[in-house]
Amino acid sequence: MTLVLIVIGAVVGAPLRYLVDRAVQARHETVFPWGTLSVNVAGSAVLGFVAALPVNDGVMALVGTGFCGALTTYSTFGYETVRLLEEGARFHAVANAVASVVAGLGAAYCGLALAQALT
């Protein structure tokens, strides 16, 4: 059952990452990867929220491992950062790495705070 829940979450999360990335990237002209940053921050907020709730293993498999895991990505983040360096956009590369970590962690703590306020 756990595996089925992970699949359901991932089948929604992975295409949603692509669609959000597309939509965000279509709205600016810079090389900065705002799209990936957006999904990673949003997914970190949702996971921070769910992980702080008294939920059962099924919900964690569906929303945590499946949905948030597939919505967010480290491979895309890593590749983008390296490609920005390759293209000589050192400031963008460093800003992407720092912003992703700071905003991702901040979002996870916002999720946690919201969950604690609700329970």
């Binding site: 756990t2 595996l3 992970i6 699949v7 979450g9 991932a10 089948v11 999360g13 992975a14 295409p15 990452r17 692509y18 669609l19 990335d21 597309r22 990237q25 279509a26 090389v31 990867p33 799209g35 990936t36 990673n40 997914g43 970190s44 949702v46 996971l47 921070g48 992980a51 498999a61 945590g64 491992t65 499946g66 948030c68 895991g69 597939a70 919505l71 967010t72 990505t73 480290y74 491979s75 895309t76 983040f77 890593g78 590749y79 983008e80 950062t81 390296v82 490609r83 920005l84 293209e87 790495a97 992703s100 970590v101 991702g104 962690l105 979002a107 996870a108 703590y109 946690l112």
Partner: protein, 149 residues
């Protein structure tokens, strides 16, 4: 700007990706994402750890996924023309579903909450460093094996 993308998921500077057909692409991403997420779960089951321990499972998932995206992107953008669904299926789907940023962030949160802030900080920095090195190694190794540069 070359035709090599910055964003491996979807780069709208590349005309072919701007015109990508939504249906087949989304289906390929969904199937790939499910496979990737299951593989990640497999690693997490194989390498369990307590809340204060270094999150090795997520670390290896993200580092290996970064190595593979480096290999994949060089193969499909520099070595040979791939089927149009290769990037959506393997890159966006499988590797995007396999690696995770949300678990990385919450892992740090969890180690700090468990009183192991130093472990969390080392994990935060080590994952970032190892992941970026892995992308570079994947790209360079593939270029060398393919006889490029």
């Amino acid at each position: 700007m070359t035709d090599r993308p910055i964003d491996p998921d979807v780069d709208l500077h590349v005309p072919a990706q701007r015109a990508e057909p939504r249906g087949p692409v989304l289906a390929a991403i969904a199937v790939g994402g499910a496979l990737g997420a299951l593989a990640r779960y497999g690693v997490q089951v194989a390498l369990p750890g307590g809340p204060a321990a270094f999150p090795w499972a997520t670390f290896w998932v993200n580092v290996s996924g970064c190595l593979l995206i480096g290999v994949l992107m060089v193969l499909i953008t520099e070595v040979r023309r791939a089927h149009p669904l290769t990037r959506p299926f393997l890159g966006v789907g499988v590797l995007g579903g396999y690696t995770t940023f949300s678990t990385y962030a919450v892992d740090v949160q969890r180690t700090v909450a468990a009183g192991a802030a130093a472990t969390g900080l080392v994990y935060l920095v080590a994952t970032m460093a190892a992941a970026l090195v892995a992308v570079v190694v994947g790209m360079r190794l593939t270029r060398r094996l393919a006889g490029r540069r």
